[in-house]
Symmetry: C2
Subunit: 388 residues, 2 copies
């Protein structure tokens, strides 16, 4: 199989150096439980500490102890949202979020609602962004948590996080930022963003799935999601995923070192795609904010046809794209994110998420465009909605 | 470093075949998100399905869909205990456990207590076992969950789980068994045990840390611990730890295939250790049940001295043992498990957990015994408590 991966939002391949680090760890005869009491444990604890330092550097945490390793973005988000809400329940029961958050936030909030928490879910404008003033307006004396995502996993649109963080700080409300699709792709600085809690995962920066982290600013009142042993400074119980974390540490180091050159390459591909697109297809909507968005993703809605059919026909030609979040596969409903932008149901159904990576080239996009052109023509010629 | 690992309860080395499977996965260029919609995703979904089948076979689950992959034993236990309690809250608020459970159970129950649940924590007898009749007596019309561990992680003592499971079934109360240190080491059959929920982890059967699972019998009412995407049949959100799970799947297959020969080897080492011990040290207590216990662990309390000092002196000689659960490292308190057996605080402080694996030999134990003999003499000669 020689598939061109333009579905990087679902999966990024491991970098060669990450592979090497993980294989070295797998073959390391001295590997042991980092919490065990003897020499062998100490050596593994050092490897863990190095990974923690690399990750802390990537997000500019003041102290590596503020980084808690988790099993990925979803655990981080659940920990942040549920843990902060439950730990601050005596202060208030009101939480503010947006209606384009990832399902890990939305469903965590639904769980909390059933336990008496009240949630204000803010709308985004047509360009997909929330107004910081609306966040400020929503704050009451019961507000204990604000949770807003850094970039959206379907559209790539980036929110005004620093402004929202400043408002949260000013109002002494905890601020969680779900930065799963941003950390390691664009600069994310917990100090500049005023984030008290920040969720991230390793795969978006070419580390393994099953490894992620939660930044918890020192002094933040939060309960663990996983109760048990005293690992992770008593903030997350359970023996660490050592091999995955070592891979994530290496990936974090490389992401920090090569951030700018990667960004330039990804942004160059985006510019090319946006410029070329009108020469290959017509009647489409770009759902990604032109000024505030990730450099590696474009979300388009192709009118009169089903994104699902486009995706399957591209798959036949060994081009992998997606129509929505992999987390929502199996769900038949139109994306809540696209509906929030004001798209009609039928336009939302015509959506394609094209997400490239540092391993892609203009040739890959060229192949996509020329194939897409034929696919769209074929599907529209069969569509009862389409009249040329 | 050439350490003899007699601390297998903290960490088991990866088997060569497990290493190979993980390295193959790492080097597999077709690896993708198993939930993604295209061909590349399908291939990874197949690998995941194979691992799930292997794990289901190991515990005799009727349907692989009853196996939910998690980040390890702690997540499984938190999911089982908190998820079952919250989902069945309307039926009642009473939970039964024992006072020798792992901290992941104990602290999950503490968290639930703060939310209005009532917990009955049953004592064990001097041999470390709970009486099934005591479980039956503790059931009220408010009881929604019974949680008892299969084997204890410090003493290796095995509980009468099948009897307790039958009582739970008879009384229509959900039964969770924390079988983290048993699955893959001794036969664990969810049908024979009448378990509705059963937690396990990959490392005890020589798979990687950071991978585990929760058996959820079809029809069991339980909430997810990780809310978000629709992965794991909507029971556990988050992109799967693909490489770790592939390693666990291979380890599960090997554990099932070689269960009996491994058990025979481990039991042989245990017999040797118990028989030889009196020739090397005196005045000790064996805290492991002689008839009902894991074949790979012996917990002894050496009178008049500190287990911590013994452990450190053995470490100097490249012999890795532990004094308690790695999950409790950093905690200065005497083990709640040993105190529950009726041990005095000072005897509990003299405890050593010796845990061997399939990679150990009688020579390793012989080296331990002869070194231990000298260490104990030295420490006792300095102990104010010891008078020869």
């Amino acid at each position: 199989m020689n598939v061109i991966n333009l579905d990087h939002i679902s999966f990024n391949p491991l970098l060669p150096e990450v592979r090497e680090a993980m294989i070295d760890a797998i073959n390391n005869k001295d590997l042991h439980n980092p919490s065990s009491q003897h020499k062998a444990g100490e050596k593994s604890a050092e490897m863990l500490a190095q990974a923690r330092q690399n990750v802390a550097d990537l997000i500019n945490a003041a102290d590596p102890k503020e980084v808690v390793f988790t099993s990925g973005g979803t655990e981080s988000v659940n920990h942040a949202v549920k843990g902060a809400a439950m730990a601050n329940r005596e202060k208030g029961n009101h939480i503010i979020a947006t209606n384009i958050e990832h399902n890990s936030v939305i469903r965590s909030l639904k769980r909390l609602s059933a336990q008496g928490f009240k949630v204000t879910s803010l709308s985004v404008d047509e360009s997909g962004r929330v107004d910081p003033a609306a966040v400020a307006d929503a704050i009451t004396d019961q507000t204990i948590l604000i949770s807003v995502m850094h970039s959206n996993n379907e559209t790539g649109t980036i929110q005004p996080i620093a402004e929202i963080g400043a408002i949260a700080r000013e109002n002494k409300v905890l601020f969680h930022c779900d930065a799963v699709d941003s950390v390691g792709v664009v600069p994310v600085d917990v100090q500049a963003l005023n984030a008290d809690l920040l969720s991230f995962a390793s795969n978006p920066f070419y580390g393994p799935t099953g490894a992620g982290g939660l930044y918890i600013r020192r002094g933040t009142r939060i309960f663990p999601l996983l109760d048990g042993g005293v690992q992770e400074h008593n903030k997350r119980a359970g023996t660490e995923n050592l091999i995955g974390i070592i891979g994530m540490g290496k990936a974090a180091q490389l992401a920090a070192a090569h951030m700018e050159e990667r960004r330039a390459h990804l942004a160059d591909l985006k510019k090319y795609l946006v410029e070329q697109l009108p020469q290959y297809v017509d009647e489409y909507i770009i759902n990604t904010n032109p000024d505030h968005s990730l450099p590696n993703l474009l979300n388009i809605s192709l009118k009169y046809i089903e994104g699902e059919s486009v995706m399957l026909m591209l798959d036949e030609e060994n081009l992998a794209v997606s129509t929505k979040s992999a987390c929502a596969t199996g769900s038949l409903r139109a994306s809540h994110v696209l509906l929030s932008l004001g798209l009609s149901h039928s336009d939302a159904q015509g959506t394609l998420v094209i997400a490239w990576g540092i391993d892609n080239s203009k040739d890959d996009l060229q192949k996509l465009l020329s194939t897409l052109s034929g696919v769209v023509s074929t599907l529209r010629s069969m569509s009862p909605l389409y009249q040329k």
